[in-house]
């Protein structure tokens, strides 16, 4: 589990101190606020969680909404061929369209589409996150420009959010990139917390959603129906957008008037009071109820979910930590104390392996204990750790007090770590477990020769 740190405390800006001496106080304050808002290092965890769920929405867009009618939009014999699109829509403006540079053959367009899908999958998993996000963004732009007529506000938002992801450090937590990096790092030096970095791309997306709410609110305020309270009455009567029914008891004008003015009030709060800490979560709750209400009544795929998902970025890091710790505590209450796992802290291979297990163990079901650390002596003596055996393999204590060693311990862990579940059935195949056990013993016997060195040994 990647822990969720608080934002680092503000530090002075020595390199600008001399230059700002002569500046008026208000300019200095403005610059300080600007720096603090955009560049004060903070955790990328919220952006990383956003990345995962947003990637799923992008995949939904591509595979569920675009693919069924792909030829109609993008094929060589599409409804509006690209030459017509350029002359009738692009006019003298410029659009980014990689496909316009490809030969006019469907296989290239399909190729670009599947590259976009693959890049989105990689972005969601956090594999080569920066590159995959950029590829996704550029291809999303290309497909948007290639056939503009199926694009809606949701597509605009997907594009903008993907750009912010590509500019962010969303791959620094909950990602394969982070796991791969962790296998090369010593957590005794780097810690387990996600690497702090400047959150300017996250802030940009926060501002972008406020721009959207602010603009829609202002436009609505100019409309007669929004002011006389009948707008929602008409909006839920778009017969091509209807989703679930509204019972007649609620299908009444006074209710629609409350909903119309309520929408205006909530949208106003979503770009103003959301920035004020005491009201932030209340505003987010109101926004969720607004979007879920629209989601119930109207068939507008992606749009509502991508907006609701962006609220994640407004959750304070310490509250994310608290929420996750609450969940872990609930799991601990339900399934008992975490399992003790004794490892050799003087072996760098063991340290890295334990680091990997800990990062995968998102619910905190495993409690690693370094038996070379004097602080753990009392606890390990109490549970009667066999130190001689622990020198040759990692040991995991089961509920009955017995210790499982080596490969069997790892297999036991995989059963209790959801992220390892795809691997678990393979580990129970007899031939696999036989060879895995042999391999474990061979590696364990030579572990200090593989990565360990005297310099890495804990003093």
């Amino acid at each position: 589990m990647t822990n969720l740190p608080k934002a680092a405390p503000a530090e002075g800006l020595p390199h600008t101190a001399q230059a700002t001496e002569a500046k008026p106080q208000w300019i200095e304050n403005l610059l300080k606020s600007w720096n603090s808002f955009w560049f004060e290092p903070t955790t990328p965890v919220a952006m990383a969680i956003f990345r995962i769920f947003f990637g799923i929405i992008l995949l939904e867009n591509m595979l569920v909404h675009l693919l069924p009618d792909f030829d109609l939009y993008y094929g060589k014999n599409s409804l509006v061929p690209i030459n017509d699109m350029m002359s009738l829509y692009w006019h003298s403006s410029y659009y980014f369209d990689l496909m316009a540079a490809l030969p006019a053959d469907d296989k290239y367009i399909y190729g670009a589409f599947w590259v976009m899908v693959a890049a989105t999958v990689m972005m969601t998993l956090g594999l080569c996150t920066r590159v995959s996000s950029w590829v996704t963004f550029l291809l999303l732009m290309s497909f948007g420009a290639h056939f503009q007529l199926n694009q809606n506000a949701g597509d605009n938002y997907l594009r903008l959010a993907t750009m912010c992801l590509a500019l962010s450090n969303a791959g620094d937590a909950f990602s394969l990139d982070n796991l791969i990096r962790a296998t090369r790092q010593d957590w005794r030096k780097t810690g387990f917390g996600a690497r702090l970095s400047a959150p300017w791309a996250q802030r940009l997306l926060q501002i972008q959603i406020c721009i959207a709410y602010g603009h829609t609110w202002y436009s609505k305020m100019e409309g007669k129906m929004w002011n006389d309270g009948t707008a929602v009455y008409y909006a839920v009567r778009y017969d091509d957008l209807m989703r679930f029914p509204i019972p007649h008891i609620f299908d009444q004008l006074p209710i629609y008037m409350i909903l119309t003015w309520g929408t205006l009030a909530i949208e106003f709060a979503l770009f103003t009071f959301i920035w004020w800490r005491p009201t932030r979560y209340w505003v987010m709750a109101a926004g969720l109820s607004l979007h879920l209400g629209i989601e119930y009544c109207m068939n507008l795929p992606m749009f509502e979910w991508s907006f609701m998902l962006t609220y994640l970025l407004f959750i304070y890091p310490e509250d994310l930590t608290k929420s996750w710790n609450w969940l872990k505590a609930k799991i601990k209450d339900r399934f008992g104390e975490p399992y003790r796992l004794a490892f050799d802290g003087s072996c760098i291979l063991c340290v890295r392996t334990i680091g990997l297990i800990h990062r995968l163990d998102i619910f905190g079901r495993i409690k690693p204990l370094d038996f070379t650390d004097k602080d753990n002596d009392a606890e390990l003596d109490e549970v009667k750790l066999d130190r001689a055996r622990a020198q040759s393999e990692i040991l995991l204590q089961k509920r009955d007090g017995n210790w499982l060693g080596g490969f069997k311990a790892f297999r036991f862990i995989s059963l209790r770590t959801p992220l390892l579940w795809p691997l678990t059935p393979v580990l129970f195949v007899p031939i696999v477990s036989f060879f895995a056990e042999l391999m474990y013993k061979a590696i364990a016997a030579n572990r200090k020769l593989i990565l360990g060195s005297p310099s890495e040994v804990r003093q």
């Binding site: 955009w38 569920v64 014999n77 410029y94 810690g191 603009h215 409309g223 778009y238 091509d240 029914p245």
Partner: protein, 205 residues
Amino acid sequence: MQSTSPGTRKLSFRQACNYSSSSGRPTAAHKLLVSSFLLTFFFVVGSWLLPEWTPEKNSITIYTGPIMNLAGWTQYWSLFCPEVRDLNYHLNALVEFSDGTVKCYEFPRHEKMDLITKFRREKLRKLFGDNISWQNYEQFRPSVCRFLARANNDPTNPPERVTMFLNITNTPPPDKESFCYRDELPPHTRKIILSSYKVNPTDLQ
């Protein structure tokens, strides 16, 4: 939680759980670059979103609009506003063949689809319902007519003309006399011809 370097001392497991390293503060050059990008973004996007009555708006957007389109920063957030649509409609086309017969084609109608189909095919609604049906996109109608002509081509009896028309009805206002429940909306009975396209032999190739 710490973010400062632990130095040469190594953390215990418990300490490591509460420690985050930092990628470091951005340099002044990095900040300048990012700040320039942000200010450009806000200027380009902000000028586009200014109210239409803003003096000199067009003289700014003539420069910022192309940047917005090229960079993928398109902003369109006027959903259901300033006014909400007070009508329902669907699109049809008549394909006339050389022997005088006529075929009526009904474009996808989401109100007739089941929940899953209308969810999957939402982009078709955007295409035919929100865009092609309206004046802002009328320049695309000949392309749609050519597509329909090709799709219905019979070499022995080729299509000669394609006519697109809208079937429309007003949503009854919510006053006492006209109020109607959401599930009792009137059918789309009024017809409006949108375009009529004479098919050329080259359109069928």
